[in-house]
Every structure is written in C-alpha cells, then in structure tokens.
C-alpha cells in the first residue's frame, strides 16, 4: 500500500501551482479517494470512520462547553446546570457531549472486538494495533477526567476511589503511594485544585488522541486494511478504490449510528448516567453504592475481584496492558477467526466474559457476585495467556480461499483465478 501512487490530476491552474508547492491534495486523494480497499469489507469495518466522527463531535461540543463551564469546586456543578437550563441550546450540546462519550466507547469496543476476531493485530499490523491500545488508554483517561468536571457525587467519589488506587504503592515502598496521590490531588483530599488540573488535562488529551489517530491511520495506510478473510490484497481485482465504495458504506453505517446517537440525546440523555451525579459533590458523605460509567465496568469488576488492594490495581492495569502483547501471544498461522474452528468458540467465550464482567462491575462487591467476577477475571487472563498461544498451535485451520476475490465470487469467479494462481497464499 505504501507504494500506492496517487492518481491525482490538478484540475485548475491554482491546483497545479499548489501541487508543485504543497501536494496536500495529491496526498489526500491518494490516501482517501483512490486508496485500494479490500472488496470484501463488511460493516464491522465502518467503525474506524465512525470513531473519527465521534472524536470530532467530542472536540467541537467540548470546546463549546468550555466556554460556559467554571472549573472551580464552588461553581462547577452550578455551571453545568446553567449550561443545561440557561445557555442557548446548552441542553443539546451538553447532552451530545455526555451521550457522545458513551457512543465513543460503544464504537471503540466494537472496533476492538472486530480487530480481535479477524486477527487485525497480526503481522504486519502490530504497531497499528499497539497505537490503537494507546489511544484506548488515553480515551479512558480523558473520559474519566471529563466525568470529574460535572462535580456531582459520583464524579467526586469516582475520582477519590480511582486516584486512591495509586496509594496501593505504599505496599511497595512505604509512603510512595501517598506521595503520588497527594501529587495528583494537589492537596490532602480531592478538592477544587484537583478539579482545575483535570479540566486542563481533559482539554488537552483529545488533541493528543487526534495526533495518535493520525499515526494510527498512517500505519494503517502503510500496511493496508485487514479484511474478513485475513488474506492480503494480491491482485487488482481484490480491491476497490476507497471512494466511492468504502466511503459510501462508511456513510451509510454512520447514518445508522447517528440515528441511535440522536435517539439517546433527545429521548434518553440520562439513561446511561447515574442519578447520584445530579447531587452536588459532598466530601462528607459517600453514596451507598459507587459505580463508574458503564464503559469502565469490566475493569472495575477485575479491580474488585482480587482480594488484595495492590493485586487488584495491578490486575486492572494488566487487563489493558496485556492487549499490547496480543500480536505475539496469538500463535495461529491464519488471521481470521472465520477459519479457526476451535478458537472461534473461545473468542465468543471471551466476549461473554467481558459482558459478564461489565454486569458484575455494576453489582455490589459481595457474595456470589465476587465469586463470578473471579471466575470471569480468571478467564479474561487465561484467554490471552493460555488460549491464544495453545489453540494457535494445536488447531488445524479450515481451508482458506485462494484470494479475496475467490472468497467473494466463488472459485473461478471473475478474472481473479489467474491472478490468484500467480500469487498463491504463502503462510
């Protein structure tokens, strides 16, 4: 893909003049118009575009909200209510931003499961995948800090609990954890000082994400997109130009996504939130039951499943960090789970584990819930550390089609046969 030449032709004298000085139109044309896209991409491949849309929506609505928000312990909660009630269309922009965070995570989880199912992390896409994991991590930090800014009870106690995770380092070097927590807080408890710095970082990190997304797309366009067969593009017939084919498919999927988005914004803006966050932060009373936003629940369940403070914290961070090593933990010769009769069962077991952990994270940490959280936490890690390496070795993959074109048109379909025969799959 890297050697793909743009077919851009400047259409005016100005365009030609520009092209000789800064060929940005040539680059955009080459990367986003005639870029070769596998012809068999399904709708799961539309979530990259959808996620770019989410990032833009969050940045645009976020900049507007920042114009009306007051980042101090005294004013933050009231200024959010002010935005919702007094600012022109503030209710709309605030709802889009709040629901947008959920939609962003919804899309990113589908995007990640798609990558796991079709082996999109396997060579040569390791760096592409790792940049994606880093984006996910920065997204989580951004979402967490943004939730703080509302300064409701859940905001306040959520921050208290999560920042206190670092105090577990006291168990490694006495006093280290306390020092770090006080450094994060800028005091001896979560206060307006903490709110203020989280506000600054919450404004900064989305632009860091935008930069990481540029790297993510760059590396994607160097190695080319994966596809449901997991085969490489070997002949011209295997691909179609990105525009109009992939672009139209992306736009159609995006419009369905926006429909769901709009339904939540207009009809159920608080459905994914928590009622306690409409009570202003009170440092003297902890809500009876603290839960993070839904998109953090699986990790929260892992944190609580381990009966030691430091151990729980390590397991929670390890649950994310382990994704970095997936390209090397998976020993299978084929990429796509579609051709992996044994692994496919484990894949769905993994999906079920993640959903179950999400459910358990919302339940109180007692009795049978803790027991099940331990079972699914165990499987979560076993999936990466045992299933991925072992199944990849013992499993015999199904017969792969000879080419992407054959997978679409059947054997002998189109003129692909000769091309595919000329470049047989070697893996």
């Amino acid at each position: 893909m890297a050697n793909h030449e743009s077919t851009y032709v400047p259409s005016s004298r100005f365009a030609k003049w520009m092209d000789e000085r800064l060929p940005i139109a040539r680059m955009m044309h080459g990367q986003f118009v005639d870029f070769p896209t596998p012809r068999n991409l399904n709708y799961l491949w539309t979530f990259g575009g959808i996620l770019s849309f989410c990032l833009v929506v969050q940045i645009v609505t976020g900049v507007v909200l920042a114009m009306h928000f007051a980042p101090s312990a005294n004013d933050a909660f009231d200024s959010v209510e002010h935005i919702r009630r007094d600012v022109n269309y503030g209710w709309l922009i605030r709802n889009i931003h709040a629901v947008g965070a959920s939609m962003f995570f919804f899309a990113v989880y589908i995007h990640m499961f798609r990558g796991l199912y079709y082996g999109s992390y396997k060579a040569p896409r390791e760096i592409l995948w790792i940049i994606g994991v880093i984006i996910f991590l920065v997204m989580m930090a951004t979402g967490f800090m943004g939730y703080t800014l509302v300064w409701g009870q859940m905001s306040f106690w959520g921050v208290t609990v999560i920042t206190n995770l670092f105090s577990s380092l006291d168990g490694v070097i006495a006093g280290l954890g306390t020092k770090i927590v006080q450094w994060l807080w800028g005091g001896y408890s979560v206060s307006g000082v903490t709110l203020n710095r989280f506000y600054a970082l919450h404004y900064l990190l989305p632009f860091v994400i935008a930069g990481l997304v540029a790297l993510h797309i760059w590396s994607l366009h160097v190695v080319g997109q994966n596809n449901p067969t997991g085969l490489d593009i070997k002949a011209k017939a295997d691909s179609v130009p990105m525009a109009p084919f992939a672009v139209m498919k992306d736009l159609f999927a995006l419009s369905l996504f926006v429909l769901l988005f709009a339904w939540l914004v207009f009809y159920a803006p608080d459905w994914l939130g928590h009622a306690d966050n409409y009570v202003e932060a009170n440092p003297l009373a902890t809500p009876a039951h603290i839960v993070p936003e839904w998109y953090f629940l699986p990790f929260y369940a892992i944190l609580r499943a381990i009966p030691s403070k430091l151990g729980g914290v390590i397991a929670m961070f390890a649950a994310i960090a382990i994704l970095v090593f997936v390209p090397w933990l998976d020993t299978s010769r084929v990429r796509s789970t579609k051709y992996r009769p044994i692994y496919r069962w484990f894949f769905w077991l993994f999906v079920i584990s993640c959903l179950a952990l999400g459910y358990l994270g919302a339940k109180p940490a007692e009795g049978v819930y803790v027991m099940w959280a331990r079972v699914f936490t165990l499987y979560y890690f076993a999936h990466f550390l045992l299933v991925m390496p072992i199944v990849g070795i013992i499993e015999t993959p199904r017969q792969l089609p000879r080419s992407i074109t054959e997978a679409v048109l059947g054997p002998g379909g189109g003129g692909a046969k000769a091309a595919a025969a000329a470049a047989p799959e070697k893996r």
Binding site: T286, I290, S308, K309
Partner: protein, 193 residues
C-alpha cells in the same frame, strides 16, 4: 559521526565534547522539568497545617460527630462501656493490621486499643474518617447507620468492616483508620493538628 567512523575505538576530542555537551543538556533539561512536576504537589496554603479546636461537651455517650480537618472528615466518637471493652479485648496479633496507626507513635506501636486513645480519656476515639482502601467515608457516625459486623464502622464502597477502635477487621482495606495528631487542651476540648 562520519569523521570518527574510521577509528571508532579511539574516542576523539570531538566525541568527548559531544558526549559532555549532550549530558549537560540532558541533565539541564531534566532539572528544568522539576518545577513543572512539583507545581502539582500540595501548595503552601494547603500545607499550612490548620488546626481546629473542638468542644466535646455536647457529645453524649454513644454519640459521634464528624468535623473537618485539612479537608478530611475526622470522626470523634464518645464510646460506650461495652464498645471500649470489646475494643480492649482484642489482642494486637489477631488484627489484620497490627500497627497502632497513631501519628503520635511509631509504626511499630502495636494496635491495641490503649495505643489509639489518650490515657484517661479512653471513651474518646478520634479518627481520620477515610477508608484506607480507596478513600470512601465509612458509615457508622449516625445512630441509624449500618456499623458493620464489629460495631464500629462499615465502608459501603467495597465492604470493609472496622471495629470500635477503628481497626480493620474484615474486607479489602489494608490499614486501620488513622489516628490524627491531637491533644486535650482542656477536660472537654481537643485540638486536632
């Protein structure tokens, strides 16, 4: 570096100068970073160890009050006879956290009830009311609260049970509730901090 490529095993004057220069710039850069890290630490106004004086007269036996000190809640409980006795009965070696966690004592001081109160004022228990697990405020201050299996405090976040001396007995919290620095300035008045 191409100038020195032919004799890589003999560092030249230029190599030494560039290593020294890069080291100097590196150390300088690292030092310049420190103010930007340190500015996040608690500032002077926060550090100024404000002390508060509390009048204990209105707190009857069995009652508890919560006051603010350094932005943290401090629990003050006027313990009943049975509460004191049940706290004194526990041997330090049976505790999850055997340390007294009293700022007036060393970390080695055993977590007996006597080490967590002032002599002659055994009914007054003064604690930083922050769960040592993840910083929630445990329940148990008001009469109607759930006080946990040991009659002290119960943290609703992740289910830690504290006894009537504020020591962790069950649940994920690793340490006993801290005893802040305080003293009796008169028979019924204390100064925290």
């Amino acid at each position: 570096m191409s100038a020195t490529a032919d004799k890589a095993d003999h560092p030249t004057r230029r190599d030494i100068l560039s290593v020294a220069g890069q080291t100097f710039a590196g150390v300088g850069g690292a030092l310049a970073l420190w103010p930007f890290i340190s500015q996040m630490n608690p500032d002077a106004s926060t550090q100024a160890l404000a002390s508060v004086e509390i009048d204990l007269k209105p707190v009857k036996e069995g009652q508890a009050i919560t006051v603010m000190w350094r932005g943290k809640p401090v629990f003050i409980r006027n313990r009943t006879k049975t509460e004191i006795e049940s706290a004194q009965k526990v041997a330090a070696k049976d505790l999850v956290d055997p340390s007294a966690r009293n700022e007036a004592m060393t970390d080695r001081a055993p977590g007996t009830d006597a080490n967590r109160v002032k002599k002659g004022k055994e009914n007054w228990l003064v604690l930083v009311g922050i769960c040592t697990h993840l910083g929630c405020i445990p329940k148990g201050q008001s009469m109607a609260d759930q006080k946990g299996e040991y009659g002290g405090w119960f943290c609703p976040c992740h289910g830690s049970h504290y006894d009537t001396s504020g020591r962790i007995r069950k649940g994920p919290a690793p340490r006993n509730l801290d005893v802040p620095p305080y003293e009796f300035v008169s028979d019924s008045k204390i100064k925290i901090g």
